[in-house]
Symmetry: C2
Subunit: 123 residues, 2 copies
């Protein structure tokens, strides 16, 4: 079937480590044309998320460190969740993407409302 | 039916004028919890759009004025377009929202991939 998260998510996911700067996070978003970047440990396990909205908030509040704006309590999805379950989580928390992790907290992918919206197009 | 843009879009749309600062745009995004803000003339007609991704790009490139990062060639939708047409436009241009305008370029609403993704949830 093609209604599982693993069928729709992005497999290649730019990420950064906790000690990165706000500017490095912003550069990565610009270069990869994404708006959501998981923050990972040096063993590639998920420890947080930073989004373009967070960077915008940092500009508004004159915050200068990634540590102060990243979100640490991440809402995640799994490879075998359904698209509907992923969409429900994003609606409930008013977020636009979910990192997809395995049992060892390793990043397998990222699913966004852009991916889900694309499902209703013909091509 | 409930598959037209007007059935799904947000009717209340925060917007800013062209002479606003980057910081004012960022503050509005934070306060209204949005990521896309139409830029309007003093007669409320659409002249551009600025997003959290643009603000992030401004941080990456050390750009300081709204004028330099806003997008002026805006991809728009209409009240009577179908959701599928809106989703196709967003997919084609890799964008996450479309201002909805009338024949006089006035903003009627904003439709996003978050709204469309919500359509597949049960509630
Ligand atoms: C409430 S949302 C509103 C804007 C937009 N929908 C978005 O997702 O960025 C913005 C906040 O949600 C957080 N966020 C985004 N995705 C998340 C996720 N999967 N888990 C937890 N927080 C998340 C961001 O770090 C940011 O602080
Ligand atoms: C290519 S998208 C990638 C990130 C994300 N999908 C988004 O929409 O922000 C980012 C760029 O698209 C532009 N953009 C967003 N919505 C637009 C729209 N309706 N029409 C034209 N440009 C738009 C923004 O100004 C920004 O420069």
């Amino acid at each position: 079937s093609d209604n599982l998260v693993q069928d729709v998510m992005a497999y290649s996911v730019p990420s950064i480590e906790e000690n990165a700067t706000l500017e490095e996070a912003a550069k990565l978003m610009m270069d990869c044309r994404v708006t959501h970047i998981p923050v990972v440990s040096n063993e590639n396990t998920l420890i947080g998320i930073v989004t373009a909205w967070d960077i915008s908030k940092a500009v508004a509040l004159k915050i200068e460190s990634l540590d102060q704006i990243m979100t640490r309590k991440v809402v995640v999805s799994r490879l075998d969740e359904t698209i509907e379950q992923a969409a429900e989580k994003m609606k409930k928390h008013n977020i636009s993407s979910l990192p997809v992790i395995d049992n060892k907290q390793k990043i397998k992918g990222l699913i966004t409302t852009d991916h889900i919206s694309t499902l209703i197009t013909k091509y």
